[in-house]
Assembly symmetry: C2
Homo-oligomer: 160 residues x 2
């Protein structure tokens, strides 16, 4: 019995993309910047760290190497389908920063198909209603865990 953290998809996802620069690499790729040197410059990541991140993201199936030159072998890093599905994470992070940190001058603006500047909104795919703090409830399905913490293994299962 040694204090393992809560099982959670957020933690699992962050284990792949939560290291420093990983999401910035994804940002660059989603902006169309696919090559090592330019990703390094645009993110500010040291080159050795970038090497490690790219390797990890490729292994995780988030990026893939696409050759663009033989002799010497050179690759571009492009998002896989799984990688592209991380875009909502980037968009919501950006929206938060735009609102709370850069309210007066957003460095990058996203434009939606409809012609408007994107204000992203998270909704329920079933009913289309907003999915925010007030409209969501959590159900923990991991054995041994409740919403607030691990189940005490005897001697008074209740919470403080």
């Amino acid at each position: 019995m040694k204090a393992s953290p809560r099982p959670c998809s957020i933690a699992d996802t962050l284990a792949l993309v939560g290291e420093k620069y990983a999401l910035l690499v994804l940002r660059e790729v989603s902006l169309g910047v696919y090559r090592f040197d330019r990703i390094a410059r645009n993110t500010g990541a040291p080159r050795d760290i970038l090497t490690a991140r790219l390797k990890r993201l490729v292994e995780a199936g988030i990026l893939e190497k696409v050759p663009y030159n033989e002799r010497p072998p050179r690759y571009e890093y492009r998002a896989t389908e799984a990688g592209a599905e991380l875009q909502p994470v980037l968009v919501t992070l950006m929206a938060w920063g735009d609102r709370h940190l850069n309210a007066d001058a957003r460095p990058v603006v996203l434009e939606h198909d409809c012609g408007e500047v994107l204000s992203p909104r998270l909704v329920c795919a079933h009913c289309g209603g907003e999915a925010d703090r007030g409209s969501l409830s959590h159900h923990v399905r991991s054995p041994g865990w409740t919403t607030t913490g691990p189940v005490e293994t005897a001697a008074g299962g209740g919470e403080a």
Copy 2:
């Protein structure tokens, strides 16, 4: 001319919540776990790191300390309005992990008001249409930057 990284709200936001455990702390708070010890156990964060993260998140206006006991002074950490607005980031991270890492057994399930299990979808607040890779375009508004990189200060501004 010393290679500064791209100005970007994603990077700015990650500077606040991108350090290890920061988003897991927010996850716990959004699950209703407000106290030091329990957050430490549920996230697995070492206590000294947790102290540092909580301090930073409070300073950033994402969490606030609410006293629940004097003598000795004890506080709960609760999300501010700004902190609550990070929920979409947590939800999209969780959705990705649920799909790509825990497809067979989601550790936590979110239920929406409408009675269904939440499938989050990111849409444009204006037109209501899906906001994904295909329907978005980027416009870089930082002086000296284009979509793919910094503007070369002379001698041929083009890209490789």
